[in-house]
């Protein structure tokens, strides 16, 4: 199957591969997998607690070229967005940007799920942090 140039570009030079400190309260981690192909993806964000802006995003994907490209693109898009804006990223945006064929749509879904999971994790951590934060003030 032929990959689009954009997919190949991300595949050959994936952006933001790596990991962030999972235990930090400012870091949200999303770990997702696609049972139909057995691929797994980890995506992490580091959020500025004051501004709510995502300052850093990292990923590591064990999967097909489209899944790697989708998550690489997602990390590029995440940086500089607020958490709320990040939640608006849809897998269809990724499909359009990368010109993914129908059989590769689930790979982009994986990336959207990973974003949601990372934000969910970040928010869960933050809500646990709240009492402590108040105590400091």
């Amino acid at each position: 199957m032929a990959y689009s140039d954009k997919v190949l570009d991300h595949y050959n030079n994936p952006r933001n591969v790596g990991s962030l400190d999972k235990s930090s309260p400012s870091v949200g981690t999303g770990m997702v997998g696609a049972p139909e192909c057995g691929d797994v993806m980890k995506l992490q964000i580091r959020v500025n607690d004051e501004s709510g802006i995502i300052e850093e995003a990292k990923f590591k994907t064990f999967g097909c070229g489209s899944a790697i490209a989708s998550s690489s693109l997602a990390t590029e898009w995440l940086k500089g967005k607020t958490v709320d804006q990040a939640l608006e990223i849809k897998n269809t945006d990724i499909v359009n940007e990368l010109s993914l064929p129908p059989v590769k749509i689930h790979c982009s879904v994986l990336a959207e799920d990973a974003i949601k999971a990372a934000i969910g994790d970040y928010r869960a951590k933050q809500s646990k942090q709240v009492p402590a934060a108040h105590a400091v003030v």
Partner: protein, 204 residues
């Protein structure tokens, strides 16, 4: 379920019309088509026997003098027969087929249906393979043993599936299918890991 025969309008309760013997359109359910009991622990010998018998019965040459409509049914039937055999012969494909017929859709299940510990585990194993495959000669042995471990895991899953297949056959209980789906998901991740240990070999 018997429809009137397309040819004579008589009663066509089986593959061939009782009255005029014309071939009827194929049933699309694989079990129904083959006339096999709806079982996951399927009798492989019986399946093979039926496949060969039906292949002979449905051979296109036997229909060359028949009406066009019947020739088409013969072609359609052969196609269903081949799909049915290929699918039901393989225990994993068979289980996926039954899940789909029962309304479970593997392709559409979210990542939420997979236990997070499993994803963590698979992710870590992938990391380990990657590190090993980037390593020197000495990593080879470790890669081999990793591969061996995954194969053991896969075999354990296959054994567990065998048991669950037999259990489902008794009562056709949906909860069992849910467990089977869980095992199949896990299996897919593990076979993927095994494949990656292969790729890791080739790449150096």
């Amino acid at each position: 379920m018997s429809l009137p025969c397309w040819n004579c309008g008589g009663c066509a309760a089986s593959r061939f019309c009782d009255a005029c013997k014309a071939l009827q359109p194929p049933a699309h359910d694989f079990y129904e088509f083959l006339g096999m009991p709806r079982q996951l622990a399927l009798d492989a010998k019986e399946l093979e026997k039926r496949f060969y018998a039906l292949s002979r019965q449905l051979h296109p040459d036997l229909f060359s003098r028949k009406p066009v409509r019947e020739q088409e049914y013969a072609l359609e039937s052969s196609a269903v027969l081949n799909d049915a055999y290929r699918t039901l012969k393989d225990p994993i494909a068979r289980a996926l087929y039954v899940l789909k017929r029962e309304g479970f859709d593997i392709a559409e299940q979210g990542t939420k249906d997979v236990p997070p510990e499993l994803l963590e585990e698979v992710f870590d194993l992938n990391m380990a393979i990657e590190e090993l495959s980037e390593g020197d000669e000495s990593a080879r042995a470790q890669l081999e043993s990793a591969r061996h471990r995954f194969e053991v895991m896969r075999n354990e899953i296959d054994d567990a599936l065998q048991g669950k297949f037999a259990e489902w056959d008794v009562a056709h209980d949906r909860g069992k299918l849910d467990e089977i789906r869980g095992q199949l998901n896990r299996r897919k991740y593990i076979t993927n890991l095994i494949a990656r240990t292969d790729i890791a070999h080739v790449s150096d």
